[in-house]
């Protein structure tokens, strides 16, 4: 996840665009629904990547920002009769503001402490939803409008594509460099004039914006939200998707998103009477992925050291 895929990634992504157009003609209707859900996870994981992968702040509570986005959309649609896709940016902004607000205390909370607080936030979300029953519909939840799976597929992937390109541009530019500097060494970053507080808070806000949009998309695809849509496991699944997809750059996160969706799909097919299988698989995958990364990391570092020793010319070739 350290090195951005760069131009290659954008080329591959561009090549996928015509594929995306062909897909509805090639696969069954229900597959389109699954793929729409993959898009939802992809957007959420993009957000998490910006926060954790690029600015180095861990969040175990991104499900909470998804919930904020989802319920913003649901409330606008259900209580105020908005057109659902118009609520998407609003949901993102509302969640983004919440993220900015979360980012301020987060400045004082290092790694582990931030993990604890965001975990507590994720666990508290269903309670908070149920408390404000009049708006959120409490345990009964809220309904949104139904759409065809093809419509859902198109809408979610258009949004995902836009946000992906936005993220790519953002991270290539000055902001991305600032983020990486902050992640690698806060002291060095601060002494080169980067406003740590601003960068980290903005990262939180942007990350939450993405999660909020994802939440909104989730609400629209499911056409229903209730407190149980956002358990703490959702936040951890996002982390699994991030780790599994962290091969470098943004596009591989797509694999992470697909992983989350399809493990659940196949688990319920293979072992419908055995709940808990997807959770088990995700847990094992997360542990194995971490093992793999920590085994590979020293090798990668050694490779980089060797290249440096060969001299500046060799390094410049990369």
């Amino acid at each position: 996840m350290r090195r951005l895929g760069g131009l290659w990634e954008l080329i591959v992504a561009a090549a996928l665009v015509p594929v995306a157009f062909l897909v509805p003609h090639l696969v069954g209707d229900f597959r389109l629904f699954q793929l729409a859900t993959v898009a939802v996870y992809f957007v959420a994981i993009l957000g998490l990547a910006i926060l954790t992968g690029w600015s180095g702040q861990i969040s175990l509570g991104h499900g909470a920002f998804m919930a904020i986005g989802a319920y913003t959309s649901a409330i606008l649609v259900f209580h105020h009769q908005w057109t659902d896709w118009l609520t998407i940016p609003v949901a993102g902004v509302v969640a983004g503001v919440a993220g900015l607000l979360m980012g301020i205390p987060a400045l004082r909370l290092s790694g582990l402490y931030l993990a604890l607080v965001t975990f507590a936030l994720a666990v508290s979300v269903p309670s908070l939803i149920k408390k404000w029953e009049s708006q959120t519909g409490g345990s009964s939840g809220l309904f949104l409008n139904l759409h065809s799976n093809a419509w859902l597929y198109r809408t979610t992937w258009i949004v995902a594509a836009i946000l992906y390109v936005a993220a790519w541009l953002m991270l290539r530019g000055k902001f991305g460099r600032a983020l990486r500097a902050v992640r690698d060494s806060e002291i060095a970053a601060a002494s080169s004039g980067i406003n740590l507080a601003l960068v980290k808070t903005v990262a939180f806000g942007i990350s939450a914006f993405y999660a909020g949009v994802a939440g909104s998309l989730l609400a629209i695809t499911a056409a229903y939200v209730n407190p149980n849509s956002f358990p703490v496991t959702l936040s951890i699944y996002l982390l699994v998707g991030l780790v599994v997809g962290s091969l470098g750059g943004l596009l591989p996160l797509l694999l992470g998103a697909a992983f989350i969706e399809y493990v659940q799909v196949y688990a319920s097919k293979l072992a419908p009477e055995k709940p808990g299988l997807p959770t088990l698989v995700f847990g094992a995958a997360l542990i194995l992925a971490v093992f793999a990364v920590s085994a590979i990391r020293p090798l990668v570092d050694r490779w980089h050291t060797v290249r440096e020793q060969r001299g500046p010319a060799a390094v410049e070739e990369t």
């Binding site: 861990i58 175990l60 205390p105 004082r108 909370l109 790694g111 582990l112 402490y113 993990a115 604890l116 607080v117 975990f119 507590a120 936030l121 666990v123 508290s124 269903p126 309670s127 908070l128 149920k130 408390k131 358990p231 703490v232 496991t233 951890i236 982390l239 699994v240 780790v243 055995k274 709940p275 808990g276 299988l277 997807p278 959770t279 088990l280 698989v281 995700f282 847990g283 094992a284 995958a285 997360l286 542990i287 971490v290 093992f291 920590s294």
Partner: protein, 297 residues
């Protein structure tokens, strides 16, 4: 606010101490691992649930206390195995990496619990009768008192272990000073495993005390884990005494707030945990009894 009856208040305090005892046990588990590794084990709750399910199965074949004891042993062994097999490979990496592994463990145990025993809620026997006992004219639940007693006995037994046995001393030494401990011949890695074993056992007890009240299902310990985090943070993450004090204190406060505040009531208990964690970590991260500069391995 409602009419404030003395008897009612006393009952709520005792009831709060009882849940507090459960939180304290789990918080103690968290602190033991934190002190020796700097890592918060996010799987502590799910491991406890898994152990409680094992107890449930055992209780179909034997009476309560033998099943309780056997579960404690199994949990202990499980904790040791988990540390040696899953944590040891990532021992030298950053704290956050290990935390992510514990999150993976949490998912594994949660999924395994669902897989093996199903998601349906089960009832769990209590060794204590549900009859009330009358002290000074006020009715208290024997169950509550029983839980308080068990928790305190457990903490006392652990205290004896850490203070007066060779292994307990070695564990403490390895937690505060692993490098020096090796010079004395202590196998620090096995001390860590031992710590995980003890923590798992504490979690199992917490689960078995909680299950009769909150009923047994794969997600049973999630709220309790949050409250245990709040208790541990409140008491000081590196202070075992703090975990106990924090647990009891938080249990009582939570119960009183939930009983006497209409706003909080029964619905906003979890956010109370969130608020406590946030405020303590922001304004006094060492908690009530912890130390400011917490040593890392």
């Amino acid at each position: 606010m409602l009419f404030f009856s003395g008897a009612d208040f006393a009952q709520q305090v005792v009831s709060g101490l009882s849940s507090g005892g459960v939180y304290a046990s789990l918080a103690l588990a968290i602190v033991i691992i934190y002190r020796s590794t700097g890592v918060v084990n996010f799987a502590q709750g799910e491991m406890a649930t898994f152990a409680t399910f094992i107890a449930w199965s055992l209780m179909n074949h034997m009476s309560y206390w033998p099943a309780f004891a056997l579960t404690c042993l199994i949990a202990f062994a499980g904790g040791v195995v988990v540390e040696r097999v899953v944590i040891r490979p990532v021992e030298g990496t950053s704290v956050l990496t290990i935390v992510i592994v514990t999150l993976g463990l949490a998912l594994v145990f949660n999924g395994a619990s669902s897989w093996i025993w199903g998601a349906q809620v089960k009832s769990f026997d209590s060794p204590f009768s549900t009859r009330p006992i009358h002290v000074a004219g006020v009715a208290f639940s024997i169950q509550d008192i029983g839980i308080i007693v068990v928790s305190l006995l457990l903490v006392f037994a652990l205290w004896l272990f850490f203070q007066f046995t060779k292994v307990g001393l070695a564990l403490r030494a390895a937690a505060v000073n692993p490098a020096e401990s090796r010079f004395v011949g202590i196998r620090v890695g096995w001390m860590l495993a031992l710590g995980w074993g003890i923590a798992a056992m504490l979690g199992a007890v917490a689960g078995m005390m909680a299950a009769p009240v909150v009923f047994l299902d794969p997600n049973m310990m999630l709220p309790i884990l949050l409250y245990a985090f709040a208790a541990a943070v409140l008491g000081g993450l590196d202070s075992p005494l703090g975990a106990v004090v924090g647990g009891l204190l938080f249990g009582v406060v939570l119960n009183l707030v939930s009983a006497y505040s209409d706003f909080v009531g029964g619905t906003l208990k979890l956010p109370v945990g969130l608020v406590v964690i946030l405020l303590v970590l922001l304004f006094r991260p060492q908690g009530l009894l912890g130390h400011t500069s917490v040593r890392k391995v």
